[in-house]
């Protein structure tokens, strides 16, 4: 049987989307979802499941879609993953479930991500609640209490897993909204905040207690957590932004990606002055970096009316961003300046950035990352005139909480050291997400959350 072509996902047209923060991908209609689901070969040994960090029974839910049993599909997905509308949108499926799909050998893989999103969106539109979905079998109520520090993807996953088992879970979040990077880092046009709110509010069905505006570290001493709770999970995210450290970093108009995105996403600066927090985006913006965050920044700046230059020191092939994000950015008109690196920022007499001096690069021998190392070409310097610069080159370990945690072993880069179950050097303390791995993806943080939930369960019920 010939394998049909992958059914394309509906998208907002480019000319429309570059003017607004409304979601770009519109997903599948029922008909399109069924058509795409029918492409699945229902492999006896489903390699896609191996590629999924949370082990969703992918063939089963796809079969249910093909049979138009959307509610069943939702239940299947939700029983593995409490946040399918989020994951369906932001997981790097091409390197996970879709990357291991058998159809890759003869054509394009099944669009598993879009199908996951479809079932969640369908269920929420139909008014299904989380407890209608998943086989949420809260097992016998247990008297063990777990504190989860941080409400990003790792913390939310740990909480939903443990909540379902009947543990008493309390989440502590420093910001005024729950969701961590899902609310401050990922733009509305990729992940609408309403979706995040919906999936988080479902956690209440698991009797999870949510504490906003609660900074563990100062307001709550880690020692108090250790005394009050039977286990503690740390999922505080990546932490402080890195800067290249070149001349002019302190000029006005030079941002870290975290600040730029937090102003726009969490504080809704794109609606200033209707919302009170401003952001400065001039006519021309340079974004430094080639990861997903750089794409998010570039596309946000574009929507705020700027002409955007993405300055990346290697070639497109080495960019760490997802393919789809790179394609979206190009379609929308982001200008890629590859094999280019900034060497200094130039300011005017008011201390505001007006230009970036760049240098051209070539690729030399492979470095420790296995990628060919970018080498500057002497004398190739040139000036790029801009009003705003955003550096999106990564983050380093958060020192807010960890410095307060007595006896917690960290790596030389300051990240928390854990075993395969997410357990740290303090037996009752577990950790996962970016604070363990350094900046990574939403789903890898969720995978870590899932493992830590298993680790915590073992620790509390078996080995104690």
């Amino acid at each position: 049987m010939a394998v049909k072509n992958r059914v394309p996902v509906l998208e907002r047209p480019v000319e429309e989307r570059i003017k607004s923060f409304e979601e770009v991908a519109l997903g599948y209609t029922e008909e399109l979802a069924v058509e795409e689901a029918k492409r699945c070969l229902q492999c006896k040994v489903p390699t896609c499941v191996e590629g999924c960090p949370v082990g969703i029974d992918i063939p089963r839910f796809i079969k249910q879609i093909a049979e138009r049993n959307f509610e069943g599909a939702f239940k299947t997905v939700k029983s593995f993953n409490y946040l399918p509308a989020i994951c369906g949108r932001v997981c790097p499926q091409e390197t996970q479930c879709e990357g291991t799909c058998v159809l890759n050998k003869i054509g394009k893989p099944v669009n598993i991500g879009a199908l996951e999103r479809f079932v969640a969106d369908w269920a929420y539109k139909e008014g299904l609640e989380a407890q209608d979905g998943a086989d949420v079998k809260i097992q016998e109520a247990r008297d063990k209490k777990i504190a989860v520090v941080g409400s990003g993807p790792a913390g939310l996953t740990v909480s939903s897993e443990l909540g379902r088992l009947g543990f008493q879970v309390e989440i502590f979040e420093t910001l005024h909204e729950l969701g961590g990077v899902l609310v401050y880092g990922i733009p509305e046009f990729r992940l609408p905040k309403e979706i995040v709110k919906k999936e988080i509010s479902d956690l209440k069905n698991l009797n999870i207690v949510l504490h906003k505006n609660t900074p563990v570290g100062y307001a709550i001493d880690p020692r108090e957590l250790l005394e009050t709770y039977d286990a503690v999970f740390i999922g505080v995210g990546a932490g402080t932004p890195k800067f290249m450290g070149i001349e002019g970093t302190d000029l006005n108009g030079v941002y870290s990606a975290n600040e730029f995105l937090t102003r726009i996403n969490l504080m809704r600066a794109y609606k200033f002055p209707e919302y009170d927090t401003p952001v400065y985006v001039g006519k021309r913006v340079a974004v430094i970096g080639g990861g997903n965050t750089a794409m998010d920044v570039a596309r946000s700046a574009l929507r705020l009316g700027a002409e955007v230059y993405l300055v990346y020191r290697r070639t497109e092939a080495e960019m760490p961003a997802r393919r789809a994000e790179i394609e979206h950015a190009k379609e929308e008109g982001i200008k890629f300046m590859l094999l280019t690196n900034p060497v200094r920022y130039i300011g005017d007499s008011n201390g505001r950035v007006v230009a970036v001096e760049c240098i051209k690069m070539t690729l030399g021998e492979p470095d420790e990352s296995g990628r060919r190392k970018p080498v500057p070409m002497p004398g190739s310097n040139f000036i790029l005139e801009v009003d705003t610069v955003v550096e999106a080159i990564g983050t380093e370990a958060n020192r807010f909480l960890l410095s307060q945690f007595p006896g917690l072993e960290t790596s030389k880069y300051g990240y928390v050291v854990v075993n395969e179950w997410g357990q740290t050097s303090i037996p009752k303390v577990f950790a996962g997400g970016d604070i363990v791995t350094g900046s990574a993806t939403v789903i890898s943080a969720m995978g870590a959350g899932k493992r830590a939930a298993q680790g915590i369960t073992r620790y509390l019920l078996e080995s104690v």
Binding site: T174, Y218, T240, E259, T262, F272
Partner: protein, 285 residues
Amino acid sequence: MEFPENTIVRKRRFAPKLYEFWIRNSLVSRKAKPGQFVIVRTSERGERIPLTIVDTRPGEFRLVVKAVGKSTYELCMKNEGDVLADVVGPLGKPSEVRNYGNVLVLGGGVGIAAVLPIARALKEEGNKLTVILGARTIDELILRDEFGFCDELLLTTDDGSLGIKGTVVDAMRELVKEKKFDVAWAVGPAVMMKFASYVAKEHNFPIWVSLNSIMVDGTGMCGGCRVTLKDEKGSKIEYTCVDGPEFDGRFVDWDVFMNRLTQYREQERLALEKFLAEVGDVSWL
């Protein structure tokens, strides 16, 4: 009566646009130490405003706020019984309070409120305390009757309406000619902290200043509050929210710091104009 968290339980007017608030918040009142701050949002659409914690008592903490921009106007217009959208804290490193010997404490304008808890804690540690408080005029020289515990208290006003005519830094310059200090604290407008730091540097004693950087999250995530610190070895970036808010003023790159404070001047002006047009006459504030 028990108020919900983040309720304004008491409000007092010191001078035009200058107010004191007692706010209900058990986390802050339980844990705050001198030198730390909170971040407040007045409403769902509001900014995150960092403000130094002045005092605590069971279940409540105290702030002193001056209305200068849209968000602080909005806060100052709140009344007793109103509930703030969000309060988070305490944040930042506490002041390093211990017995140093002779300590000089400078407070300028609203900064007087911010140095009060630090001065009190320093006194409790047995330091010999000289305090200089200054403001533009007598009405703005707030809380001066609460500094009775210090060994020597000097007051200055720009217009000479009380105490020495001149600035806090003018008085400091005179004082350091005759007296030796082991350490100083200075909290107030950036320009005051800058020049006080120059005096301390000249006379070779450390001076802790509390930087009111523009910040968003307050936990080291956004990097907006970065300051440049310089010494003979070179310069480095630190973050006010997690490495501060106090830094030794001798090493702060003041030109960079003061320039970064002007980042949103245009947007701030616009927001305030729009707000004032909406709320009408605020001359009563």
